[in-house]
């Protein structure tokens, strides 16, 4: 797979990961919903977020040697965190699909 | 912000200790550290590079310590005094190595 595709996937994963981790926090969940998230939903969002960040690292390692991959990943984390922060302050509705995934019942997840 | 107003002299002395004291302390750390590691048999560049990198972190620690510690006199003693002692020890050890 060409590097551009792998790195694109890595970026997408860090954006999703940061988005899920943000929504797991009460203050940001409440930007989209009326009440605080249920503890199970928040836990699920944290797992999703963490997994997405790990997946991103895997994509980075597939594209480059280990030392370069770690650097790329570290910078992707920073850029994604800033992006999500700006999305949350300007158009938080954009993260609604991510919140929806977090609310899915366990039986409907693969 | 401050609960006690510090005299200008005190502030100057803290800043001096932070910069000069930390520099002397780091110099001594590198002198003693490098010669100790060389005496222990480490390869030349491994020893000097390691001590030099750690030295930068030591400077940072000493710098913050200069402002956090309650007693300014103790700060000068530890940083400048400790630095001078380590420098002397390192220099003396290097004489026996060369």
């Amino acid at each position: 797979m060409p590097d551009a595709v792998l790195l694109g996937a890595a970026l997408l994963c860090t954006e999703l990961g940061m988005g899920w981790l943000a929504l797991a926090m009460d203050v940001h969940w409440k930007q989209l919903h009326a009440a605080n998230p249920r503890s199970r939903v928040a836990a699920r969002l944290r797992v999703l977020g963490g997994s997405a960040l790990v997946a991103s690292l895997a994509f980075c390692l597939a594209a480059d040697s280990a030392t370069m991959a770690v650097l790329v990943w570290m910078m992707l984390l920073a850029v994604s965190a800033v992006t999500i922060a700006f999305v949350l302050s300007i158009r938080p509705r954009l993260l609604a699909p991510l919140a929806a995934v977090g609310r899915l019942k366990p039986s409907s997840l693969p | 912000m401050a609960t006690t107003t510090q005299s200008s002299w005190h502030v100057l002395s803290r800043v001096g200790a932070g910069i000069l004291g930390s520099y002397l302390f780091t110099w001594g750390f590198i002198a003693l550290g490098a010669t100790s590691l060389l005496a222990a048999g480490l390869e030349f560049h491994e020893a000097t590079d390691l001590v030099s990198m750690l030295g930068l972190l030591i400077f940072l620690t000493a710098f913050c310590y200069a402002f956090i510690a309650a007693s300014l006199a103790r700060v000068w003693l530890v940083l400048a005094g400790g630095g001078a002692l380590m420098t002397l020890a390192g220099w003396w050890l290097s004489r026996s190595l060369a």
Binding site: L71, M74 | I30, A31
Partner: protein, 559 residues
């Protein structure tokens, strides 16, 4: 210093952050520019807008050019004359020949080292340097200033102040202050995890500025820390020359031991010798790397003990695929056989090599390069918002008490944030506007830069009188407007003077120039939007100050 350690570290963060912040803005802004230094070089020197070239033939092209460099740089010679115990001879002995190129360079740098005899500094060497077109060996004139690698790059690590290396020390101290600011910032920021994604632009200026300062500071924290630390590691020999100054016999003993173990002579033999085919050595090196599954081009080549029977040639791979730079292969100068291959480095050298390589970025990875560039700009935002927060917090109190502190902090902040960008864009404009054959073109450009920056300081100082009434200085939006105009002008002038407008560079895929032009256009766009918003804020600030907005005061007290 204060009642508790959090207060002491807050004091440290505020005051060292403010004072050294001005230096750090320069280091991080021009550091970001340096990520694309070669590309800016191509933009500023149209005659070098060719494709990147590999190291050319040494025997056919480089040998003659190097042999013709018989005198060191006159400025370095003058400084050396001040370091010697006996008068310098008419001709200095040549010690080394080197050539350096990377995968991004269409031109090649050649260096010749000369031994300075009777010097107070041990192993004193000075250099001559030329830049050549590797396709034909033609030398580029001395007064052609490559704005990227020759101006912005040294600006970021030495402020272009070379007098007794004082610029290196100022930047070094600022880097250390940055590390202290990061540590103290973490201690101060109580809600570091809870406010990880927090940015509230709709709140008052003080709150939203602090939010942005915390956001950019925390999310890119590893970047800020590692780049400041690695910069210090690169120049650690300048800042802490402990072994060199106090224990030089140890260095000499190690060098002697290494010379016997590697077979690479320490000093010239004094007997003349002829250099074997270096091209054959380069071919052998490339074959060797290919056999180790790390094929590559020659990046760096050094001939030591030039003209002597014990000369040796060191060849290093252009390490495009890894972060640290590559190990070298050393050949006997007269016979061309391999003398020594650098072994894989030990654990400490691996860490040090990684950190330095990460900072110097000779690897080939455009995504990572852009990410690092973005990181540098995030650092600039962090520092700039720090200034704005400092001023905003004290503006009202200083205005009513008649202090000038906030006013001057604001004026200096404008100068180092927008003023620095104005000066940078102006030098790009001047670069294109000046006649190509103007003598001392480099001096004209450098002078234009410094004068422009000084002008922005004067402008900022004049406009900061608004802070006497706790209003916003109009210098911010006015300099943003200047940025927009200059950025656009630079793109237009490039098109007019060289014909390489975006239509041509994009269709030809010549990214160095297209990339700079596109970035300039984005800069112009952002600056226009910023100028409009800031003009509006300045006007509403004037209205609010007039009516004495008490709610603003309440908000700032809570922050």
């Amino acid at each position: 210093m204060f009642a508790n350690f959090r207060l002491s570290l807050t004091w440290l963060h505020t005051w060292f952050g403010l004072v050294l912040g001005f230096v750090l803005m320069v280091a991080f802004f021009f550091g970001s520019m340096s990520v694309f230094d070669r590309e800016i070089d191509r933009w500023s020197l149209p005659q070098t807008r060719i494709a990147a070239q590999p190291m050319p033939s040494f025997d056919q092209v480089l040998a003659a050019r190097l042999a013709a460099m018989t005198a060191p740089d006159p400025d370095q010679l003058e400084l050396a004359a001040g370091r010697v115990t006996q008068p310098l001879p008419a001709r200095l002995k040549v010690t080394t020949w080197s050539a350096f190129t990377t995968h991004r360079d269409p031109v090649l740098d050649l260096f010749v080292g000369f031994k300075v005899p009777h010097s107070k500094v041990p192993d004193d060497q000075i250099f001559a340097e030329v830049t050549i077109d590797p396709r034909n060996g033609r030398v580029l004139p001395r007064d052609q200033l490559p704005l990227g690698s020759g101006f912005f790059y040294p600006m970021h690590f030495s402020l272009n102040i070379t007098w007794h290396d004082i610029g290196y020390w100022i930047v070094g101290f600022a880097a250390m202050a940055m590390l202290a600011a990061i540590v103290s910032g973490i201690v101060m920021h109580r809600k570091i995890f809870r406010e990880f994604f927090t940015f509230r632009p709709e709140r008052n200026l003080l709150r939203s500025t602090l939010d942005l300062h915390n956001l950019t500071g925390v999310v890119a924290l590893p970047f800020h820390f590692l780049w400041a630390l690695s910069g210090l590691i690169i120049f650690a020999g300048i800042y802490f020359p402990v072994i060199d100054k106090m224990m030089h016999p140890l260095i000499e003993a190690h060098e002697r031991e290494e010379a016997t173990h590697t077979g690479l002579a320490l000093g010239p033999s004094g007997r003349p010798g002829t250099l074997a085919s270096v091209d054959a050595m380069m071919a052998a090196a490339k074959a060797h790397w290919a056999s180790l599954s790390v094929p590559g081009e020659v990046g760096f080549l050094v001939v030591s003990h030039v003209g002597n029977s014990n000369a040796y040639v060191s060849i290093y791979r252009d390490s495009t695929d890894r972060v640290a730079t590559a190990e070298g292969l050393h050949f006997d100068g007269t016979t061309g056989r391999v003398l020594f291959e650098d072994p894989p480095v030990g654990p400490v050298a691996t860490v040090s090599g990684f950190l330095q390589g990460m900072h110097l970025q000779q690897f080939k990875h455009w995504t990572l390069r852009w990410l690092i560039f973005t990181g540098g700009l995030l650092s600039c935002v962090c520092i700039a918002t720090g200034f704005i927060f400092f001023v905003e917090k004290r503006k009202r109190a200083h205005a009513s008490a008649g202090h000038a502190g906030a006013r001057w902090a604001d004026a200096l902040a404008v100068t180092t944030v927008t003023g620095m960008v104005v000066a940078t864009l102006l030098v790009l404009v001047v670069n294109r506007a000046l006649p190509e054959d103007l003598a001392q073109r480099d001096l004209w450009q450098k002078s234009a830069f410094w004068l422009a920056w000084l002008a922005t300081l004067v402008h900022a100082a004049w406009r900061s009188t608004a802070l006497r009434e706790a209003r916003m200085s109009k210098a911010w939006p006015e300099q943003c407007g200047a940025i927009a105009l200059l950025a656009a002008a630079a793109v237009v002038l490039n098109a007019i003077t060289t014909g390489d407008h975006l239509g041509r560079t994009l269709s030809a895929g010549y990214w160095p120039v297209a990339g700079v032009d596109l970035t300039l256009l984005v800069c112009a766009g952002v600056a226009t939007v910023a100028a409009r918003k800031l003009h509006r804020r300045a006007r509403s600030c004037a209205v609010a100050a007039g009516s004495g907005a008490a709610d603003l005061e309440r908000e700032s007290a809570r922050a």
